[in-house]
Symmetry: C2
Subunit: 384 residues, 2 copies
């Protein structure tokens, strides 16, 4: 704004029309009392002069910057583009800008990143927290996107239900021997996803869980996961907690000469960019980022528009809920949807693939979000 910003401010418009600046403000905001004719004249003049209101001045006066902060554990995370895009879109639609902050590194970096945002007077913060960090009261509205099982979570995909989708899909194809591939058990998201999958398994199903951080701690970064051994042990389906791990498994299998999906099936999570371009296309489960972003941003806006409930913590009659400036009470979980591609197929091999395993390709079973209840009802009986 400094240099070339056209010096068209309210005063300039006011002078040009011989009215006061306040009248211009009222006319443009439609708030005060201005005659319709004059208001129209002012709007026209503003348009003509290319007037652009100064968000800065407005922010100073109103105490609202019109900007949200977005804090991510690691901007380089492949899911980030989706989140950022969705949040930016939701925020822009509501008239807000989005300031990004990267909290890569330790949780101290996260605190610092938040601090920087607060100094910039953001009106609210959307945060995808790091593992094991608890978001404390920031003194400004906060939306937390993580997992329904994270305390203080505001909204997130229903990872558990997504896991169920995957499990139901694989079960319906006749699979009974699974390998779940995650990165670290410290992540609530991964925990939920695997938990959801496990929750669907019938009594006759078996599974193993592989944690990549453990494996790499032993064998080094980027080491082979040894998937062929697992296949030899009878596993017919690898269900990873995200597409990156699924891709790793998929290519390692292909390299080892294991046919996908003929010999084994592979699934991922998140429907990242490459999922649709690899061969065979990766069956995965997708988050409705737009919906999540709308809720996260909506929660922020609700709190902001509710106005400053200055009363610090006292005056709390009911005494139950500590009055924090956090957007609570909306622990929404957004349903995930199955994206069925080519890495999943009927279970093969001697592992006793039942006849019904052949009956895949159920009509109407490949169209995005859907409940798979009809397929899994017989299995649910055996749930613990």
């Amino acid at each position: 704004m400094a240099n070339t910003r056209s010096a068209t401010n309210m005063t300039a418009i006011a002078d040009a029309l011989g009215v006061s600046a306040a009248t211009v403000s009222n006319a443009l905001s439609g708030k005060g009392r201005v005659s319709p004719e004059l208001a129209e004249k002012i709007r026209a003049k503003a348009e003509e002069m290319g007037y652009v209101p100064s968000q800065t001045a407005r922010a100073l006066r109103t105490g609202r910057s019109g900007v949200f902060g977005l804090v991510l554990p690691d901007i380089a995370n492949p899911l980030f583009p989706r989140i950022a895009q969705a949040i930016e879109h939701a925020a822009a639609t509501a008239g807000y800008g989005v300031l990004i902050a990267d909290s890569r590194g330790d949780s101290a970096a996260q605190t610092l990143a938040i601090q920087r945002l607060l100094e910039r007077d953001v009106d609210g913060i959307v945060i995808v927290p790091r593992f094991g960090t608890r978001i404390t009261d920031l003194g400004c509205p906060v939306s937390v996107i993580d997992s329904p099982s994270t305390p203080g979570n505001t909204v997130s995909a229903d990872h558990w239900q997504g896991g169920q989708l995957i499990a139901d899909h694989l079960l319906s194809l006749g699979h009974r021997h699974f390998a779940f591939v995650g990165h670290t058990p410290l992540s609530n998201v991964q925990g939920d996803r695997i938990g959801g999958m496990k929750s669907r398994l019938p009594k006759d199903a078996r599974f193993e869980t592989m944690w990549i951080d453990r494996i790499e701690a032993e064998r080094g970064r980027g080491c082979p996961l040894g998937v062929k051994d697992l296949v030899a042990r009878g596993i017919t389906a690898f269900a990873a907690t995200n597409d990156l791990h699924a891709l790793r498994v998929l290519t390692e299998l292909q390299q080892a000469g294991v046919k996908v999906p003929e010999d084994v099936s592979v699934t991922g999570f998140d429907d990242l960019v490459w999922s649709s371009v690899v061969t065979p296309g990766l069956t995965t489960v997708k988050q409705d980022m737009a919906a999540i972003a709308d809720i996260a941003v909506g929660a922020l806006i609700d709190v902001i528009e509710a106005g400053p409930q200055d009363a610090p913590v006292a005056e709390n009659a009911s005494g139950t809920a500590p009055k924090r400036a956090v957007a609570v009470g909306r622990a929404d979980r957004v349903a995930m949807s199955l994206v069925e591609r080519q890495t999943t197929g009927p279970a093969a091999g001697p592992a006793g693939g039942p006849a019904r395993a052949q009956a895949n390709n159920f009509p109407g079973d490949d169209a995005g979000a859907h409940s798979t209840s009809s397929l899994t009802q017989p299995l649910r009986r055996n749930e613990p």
Copy 2:
């Protein structure tokens, strides 16, 4: 800031110490004339009261918001995380915040996105332009990150040199029959990358170029690229213009039973997240995003600190360079570096693999950035 912002402003500090607000300002900024003792007392008090300067007020007064805008053609682009992370880091280091704007969709969306940033009074904009859009004078400093062959480009990776790195590497392995895989010829970046590769080819080399947009226009999105046919025609190396296409080629080859790197080699560009986790690991070429971001942000800061050179366009004695508020004159290109992994190996097959092709695994030839000149000197002779 609205609600819970601690009401600790300069006046509060001034009152607490019985001095004027101006003195507090001077003491904290070290600009005016304040006695050392008082200055120290003020700093201590500010610390004690948890004073945080209002960027908003400062912005209004100084005309500098301390925020840059970052415009990206499509936030969902897999390279975006790297760019955003690097820019955010460079900006934060220089004391600036980063406001994101997504210009997905057409170039009108890009204009709108830029408009939104300008309304928020950004001090400068870093933009990765869409294909074929020309960044006009925005009335604020702009850094363009695209390709050295794009007019108005400020800084970017040296895609041409990156291409040379790949070509030299493959040539040294004995490859002579190439397939270049790009998305669209409209992209300067992709054009440069392929151009660089071609520039290294000796007379006895042959190549074909595949444009994915063309292929998909015919056969539909996500269609097979038909790489096996190309292999049958004698191609031993697929060099893609980015890792996503490389991954597509790689998995299609694996699925078709073609061995990588034994039968054919595959290379990508950008060293995206998955390049290191797939099997075999993808040989690629990497951008030094940190350096690029530093230059892009540095150019912005240079222009800003040069102060408002108000003189519109007149007063331009030499008359050559139109005085735009654009950060020109730094058409830097940042060298790329080869990341050698397992998708590349000696050329095999009847296509006349020369003896020297077997002589791969040169000692010291697998360590990130390096010039491959010693390997390619004999070939350079034959350049056009």
